[in-house]
């Protein structure tokens, strides 16, 4: 049994000097805020944890681990500050059982069952005191009535608490055949997140601003992961192994407090103030809410013409539907090959399905974009689909801009040769390699792999070639 206590305190403070160009004289000068002369900022966050762990090892075959954490964060009000996070894991070393002990097929076999709750309190984007009613002084450009310094009531949420994720997991670790020919693991899990912390719109007028962080949603993720390593050749002169993994995950938004839909973080389209992706009840998290585009006979989209999905004779938001951006299937594989002094390593990664929003198409691919707005502007990019003369309102929230994000990327490839005994015990390895060597995808934009499913890349991901020499004295 173990127990422990941990206390952490972070203080973020500093002073700043600010300068301005004098509005009258144009001279650069110190810009002093009389209410806060040093432009001082100060924030303090404290975290405290207690934890206990118990291990039970029964007959060397049945292993039970139980932990309990109690965590407190100063970002939450005192009555909601402590989160209790239990976890229990059970493992059955099946290989130790009499029926497998002498097996030539099974070098190892272990069944795992787990349940655990973890907590998340990462809301520091909302400042250090998000639950307290506080007033902040305004700066010297934000005054109003002459001769009096303004103070502004900050938005706060007195009901903030931990986001909790409970994971139930069943897994199998195995090592099969002679000299570990095939090893790996299979896991099936269900994760349920409650009190999800996210920035949401509050009921208008009932809060000190329009959007703030709250514990607003419940989500479930179900999935499975398989990892395999095959040591195909394993001899003195030659080694060759292949590894691979594939995972499946499907999420669902179960509940949103007081609503059916909230904007997903990072789900806004660049430059125009439209939200593309939402967490909507009954849908996968981060789903794009879009119209179904209508195309002409030549297959070109007809701007602002959409399918009247609900058949009411007009195109409104009720005709939109949800398209999950996040892929359900992701995978990776690689290989390592050695022959005498020669070595080769390669790794690949990819996803099956998922969608990416090609925002470059609407940002640069319409006629009006190249018409100078004011004469100093130079927008001479015209790269895209000409039917769009201008971009307005609904035309951007079309499934036309959503493309299949399936891809296979060669993440790295390297080939090396090692010179033994170059001089006395000195060895030297010479290698050439490449990162991001190629990508196979039908996606027409820069890169199908984007954090929020919205491709805003202007520059492509770099392809890096390297060669080198390692000398070991």
């Amino acid at each position: 049994m173990q127990g422990g206590h941990n206390f952490q305190s972070f203080v973020n403070q500093g002073i700043q000097q600010r300068f301005q160009y004098n509005p009258t004289t144009g001279v650069r000068e110190l810009f002093v805020n009389p209410q806060n002369p040093d432009n001082r900022y100060y924030g303090k966050m404290a975290l405290e944890s207690y934890f206990g762990r118990a291990n039970v090892d029964f007959l060397d075959r049945y292993l039970l681990t139980m932990t309990l954490r109690a965590d407190a964060s100063s970002l939450f009000p005192s009555d909601r500050r402590w989160g209790y996070f239990p976890a229990a894991g059970f493992a059955w070393k099946m290989k130790e059982e009499s029926f497998l002990k002498d097996s030539k097929v099974f070098n190892d076999l272990k069944l795992r069952l787990g349940y655990g709750v973890t907590g998340n309190s990462d809301i520091r984007s909302q400042g250090y005191y998000p639950y307290i009613a506080l007033f902040s002084p305004g700066n010297q450009n934000g005054q109003y009535l002459p001769g009096v310094n303004v103070f502004s009531a900050n938005a706060f949420n007195p009901n903030l608490t931990w986001e909790k994720t409970a994971t139930t997991n069943i897994g199998l670790d195995f090592d099969l055949f002679k000299s570990g020919f095939l090893s790996g693991s299979i896991d099936v899990y269900m994760r349920r997140t409650t009190d999800l912390l996210a920035t949401t719109s509050f009921p208008p007028g009932q809060f000190l601003t329009n959007q703030f962080v709250s514990n607003c949603a419940t989500m479930t993720n179900k999935g499975a992961e398989v990892n395999l390593v095959a040591k195909i050749i394993n001899s003195d002169n030659m080694n060759w192994s292949i590894n691979g993994n594939i995972s499946y995950n499907k999420g669902n938004v179960d509940e949103i407090k007081g609503s059916t839909r909230i904007a997903a973080a990072g789900g806004g389209l660049p430059g125009i103030g439209r939200t593309l992706s939402y967490h909507a009840v009954g849908e996968q998290p981060q789903s794009a809410w879009v119209f179904e585009q209508v195309y002409d006979n030549a297959g070109q989209p007809i701007p602002d013409v959409f399918v009247d999905r609900n058949g009411d004779g007009e195109i409104t938001d009720k005709d939109k539907y949800y398209v999950a951006l996040v892929p359900n299937w992701t995978f990776g594989f690689g290989t390592t090959f050695n022959y005498k002094n020669f070595d080769l390593n390669a790794s690949f990664r990819g996803q099956l399905g998922g969608k990416v929003y090609n925002s470059a198409k609407y940002q640069y691919g319409w006629e009006q974009k190249v018409v100078p707005n004011v004469s100093q502007n130079l927008n001479n990019n015209l790269d895209g689909d000409l039917p769009f003369v201008t971009i307005a309102e609904n035309s951007v929230v079309s499934d036309y801009f959503l493309e299949n994000a399936t891809f296979l990327r060669c993440e790295s490839l390297s080939i090396g040769y090692k010179f033994d005994k170059l001089y006395k015990s000195t060895t030297m390895r010479v290698y050439v390699g490449a990162n991001n060597l190629f990508i196979l995808t039908k996606y027409s934009g820069q890169d199908p792999e984007n954090f929020n499913g919205i491709d805003t890349n202007f520059y492509p991901r770099p392809r890096v070639f390297n060669m080198g020499v390692n000398i070991d004295f």
Partner: protein, 519 residues
Amino acid sequence: MKIIIRNLATAILFVALGTSCSSELDTKPVIEQSFENLLQQDPNIAKGLVSRMYATFALTGPNGPGSSDIVANDAGESAFLRGIINLQDFTADDMKNRWGDDGLDQLTTTSNWTQNNKFFRYLFDRVYYTVPQTTNLIVALNNVNVPDKALYISELRFLRSLAYYYMIDCFGKGVLLTTENYGTTTPLPEASRAQMFNYVEQELLAIEDELPITNEYGRANKSACRMLLAKLYLNAEVYTGTPRYSDALTYVNKVITEGGYTLAPNFLQNFSADNETCPEIIFPLIADAQTSQSYGNTTYLVNGSMNSDTMPISLFGATSGWGGHRATKAWYGLFGSSAAELASSSDIRASLFWTAGHSYEMNDYKTWTDGYPCTKFRNTNFLSSSSPTNFSSTDFPLFRLADAYLMYAECVLRGATGGSISQALTYVNDVRTRSGASAITQADLILDFIIDERGRELNFEGHRRSDLIRFGKFTGGSYLWPWKGNSLNGASIPDTYKVFPLPLTALDANPNLTQNPGY
């Protein structure tokens, strides 16, 4: 096994007990302060809190032009005043914008309005920023004793009513957050236009006596309250279906006779950087090039109308021109049907358009030189010389006496009791002759004349859309202007456009809210 669990339970108990000692977790701010601390420090700080509430109509945030009180795509776009201009003037006949921002084009062309348009959302969110913020302060001040407490509370109630006025006028429904129900977290029920009208009416009637006849410049007094009340009554037929023109006349008459305001000798004084000295302005939204900066106060009107491509912008006190807004012939056509006629007009208000290098017709609203930029608002002093600045120092005259004069005349013409047609004629001619326009006769004084005179006098001051709706000219096809209904010569627009759609974010956050018909 049992023992282990019991031990673990003991450990948990220890944890639970341990928590009570963790006072270190109550981290305290240093720069930000609680209400109580602020007042302890200086009871007069209450005025700084009230000042901040006035500022919510002109500034986007407390930390200069890049800061925003509300979460918005662009801080500068989110200002209350900028929203008023966008929604009241760009949607109407007088002003058009050419930037082509998604959402702004739809306002300029009165077409394709949807619940996703961020410019509707900005004004909606602004109202529902000012309303809870003022209420929060009213509740807090109710519990303490500070100098001028009663006056502050009345001023805050005025500001809350002013914010609600725009909800009534623009969206026609909403929720009613009051001092009494402040703090409820379950979504409030939807409030109808009539309910909101009644609430604002009662609030203004209640504070009319509390507010002084004169107050410090920039702060609400009796006349500001009465002016808002008169505006509410003037539009009552639109808002509730019941005309209240006599009530409107009563309050506008009080403004005129008791307020102590006089028409500025020169029209331009109302729109110049030193207009804090102007005797005509009843309620200004303050701007200052140094201390009160915003991309959404008059800076938006001045810089937005400037473009060094065709005009010497320093002549109007600007250092940067955003090349966005131009008036249409629906405005300058009220003075003359060509640049030459405008130039020869004796009306000073006809001279406030930049015609050189621009065409009279707005064949393409996206072309800067199509249509005349309006130079009514400028950042130069009227009484003295001044240097150009990046931000404007011109206060926005939200309410001014000339508006009250024209409201008086309109009420009389609409059959209000308590006034006289001869007095109405005097007021209208006072407004006209002040600017060098010819006096009219009583036979000329009809409602159609009033809407045109309101255009000549008050365009670009955030009243036009409401005025056109009141005169039955905004929707339908009886009155057309350039780019109405997204058509060069104007096209009919549906009656549902008399109110804007509620933003989707609000509908999603409060399920009691329903969308306006037609959206």
